[in-house]
Symmetry: C2
Subunit: 325 residues, 2 copies
């Protein structure tokens, strides 16, 4: 099988939208298709729309393979999505085989944070590094590990659950059921919750006032605005969350001794939060580990998982015809 | 170079003793030598005794190479011991080259927890597994990672600092300077400290009484005895430490999705502590990760690091003459 004369597709399945990219053999994006997921219509409906989106992005070009990225617990070896935080009805869906049948093409699946890590490593901020950790801090906190130059999956593709590293046994309840996971302490949804708590406790404070003025629920963005305007509670909430984020990064650095940590997701734009986190790493990481590591921002933006999914397909093709088994 | 007609040495450099093992080409231990470290005599004195111990274990047999395991931060690529918790004067000691010169043999060095992990993986509890974590919980808490079948070092050999995963930002001061590291909450020295605190606060309690009766300082072993005799404070201290240990294990399982966790060190014999830890993992780990992993006890005992050091030497020889560079 010659890889280089055909295109590959990367399809990112999100809770609200499906994005398909078509990449030429030189990894250039030549076409993209966005459409709504409409997850409420169930697995068959979503699969149908994924196939439509993939065909639209392909635009009649010869396609060698398809990579799919999706949130949740996925097993790339069996091609199964076990659970998805964004699509509550999805339980043990054999996504790889079901989509492969619809498209009559080889399909591989990958967790979206892993796919994002692969993309940053191959064509983004992590180019040329050997040991890289991607930490995606947005609404949730996810991660992907590139170890010895390869995406590290663990036993069944579950590796890299950075957001569910517990940092405070008495901390806030996490969506996973545990208390005090990094995600419950330092994610976008955790900051949104803090903003609502502050607004409730201080209805005359800046957080509540800014939210009222904008006609929105108090959230992390409002916290940023209020902190910048001098609100001490907003500032403290951002520092506390940033403190935990920095502790999570330091733990990862101690455990994996990476050369590079790539931080993606919207929270790196939250100035008080992110500066606090970097200060914690600088102060608390062991000198040896700190000397080895750089912390940089992701380069690829929201399309990184779809791009990474396409790269998975490329790399699998390179492994030869037995690769899919 | 033919590997199979010569012997290798594994030398474990500890704070109080040096252990040298001589292994035949089939990995059988054919000879061992113990002698005191006498770390107070400085680097040269210790190096001299390491060389004597190695020669004694060799007993005139033809030796192909030497592996050395040692505590602290080590860089196996440069052969340097950066710091050692047991030998305070050691700063950036080029142990590999200095010992190689004395013995006129190729030498490799490795962190002792990494060496122990390699030994358990190749000939102990981890045989045949692909992704294995060793957690050694004794006086301190160390670890080693076998990922994709190989010892994972990270950028400069610092990977696997499991004991310095922070679990409680307000927790007890750790020897590393941070607060609330796993080691400060759940190691042997942390339990010793808890025992002393309990004895001081309750001089008529079982912990204080047992220690007086035995004429020793209150320590973790006394906590075990007191808990078994029904002392609620001792029981609570062991449960709290075990809780943290279980949380540390769960974090590792979430992050690395291993097939096997091998627990070494004396604390696995502390019944309340260890049972509590296993209960936490069973209750808190994600179902996917829990289904993949077994948690077992180490098989090799105190000689695992020396054995692993010898295995490092064997494997380096197998990589060919360029391996040392």
């Amino acid at each position: 099988m010659v890889v280089s004369d055909r295109f590959v597709l990367g399809v990112d399945l999100g809770g609200t939208k499906i994005l398909s990219l078509c990449l030429d053999p030189d990894l250039n994006v030549v076409s993209r298709d966005y459409r709504p997921t409409d997850a409420g219509e169930g697995v068959d409906g979503v699969l149908g729309r994924m196939a439509e989106s993939a065909r639209a992005a392909a635009g009649g070009r010869p396609i060698a393979a398809v990579g799919v990225s999706t949130a949740g617990t996925t097993n790339p070896t069996t091609g199964t999505v076990h659970t998805s935080p964004n699509m509550p009805g999805w339980r043990n869906v054999r996504l790889r085989d079901m989509l492969a049948e619809r498209l009559a093409l080889p399909v591989w699946i990958e967790n979206d944070a892993n796919a994002g890590a692969l993309a940053e490593h191959r064509i983004g901020a992590g180019r040329g590094t050997r040991h890289m950790v991607l930490v995606a801090a947005g609404t949730g906190i996810g991660g992907g590990l590139i170890l010895d130059g390869k995406l590290y999956h663990g036993a069944s593709g579950g590796a890299g659950e950075i957001g569910h590293m517990q940092l405070d046994l008495e901390g806030r309840q996490c969506s996973c059921g545990r208390r005090g996971c990094l995600e419950a302490l330092a994610s976008g949804w955790a900051l949104d919750l803090s903003a609502r708590e502050i607004a409730q406790a201080s209805p005359e404070g800046l957080v509540a006032s800014f939210a009222r003025r904008e006609g929105v629920e108090p959230d992390g963005r409002i916290l940023d605005l209020a902190a910048a305007a001098g609100d001490p509670e907003a500032d403290a909430a951002l520092r506390k969350a940033g403190r935990f984020f920095g502790d999570g990064l330091t733990n990862l650095i101690h455990l994996l001794n990476p050369e590079l940590v790539v931080v993606g997701g919207s929270l790196r734009k939250s100035e008080v939060y992110y500066r606090t986190a970097l200060e914690v790493v600088e102060r608390e990481a062991f000198p040896q580990h700190l000397a080895d590591v750089r912390i940089v921002e992701a380069e690829l933006g929201d399309e990184a998982p779809a791009m990474g999914a396409a790269l998975v397909a490329f790399e699998k093709l390179g492994e030869g015809p037995g690769a899919r088994a």
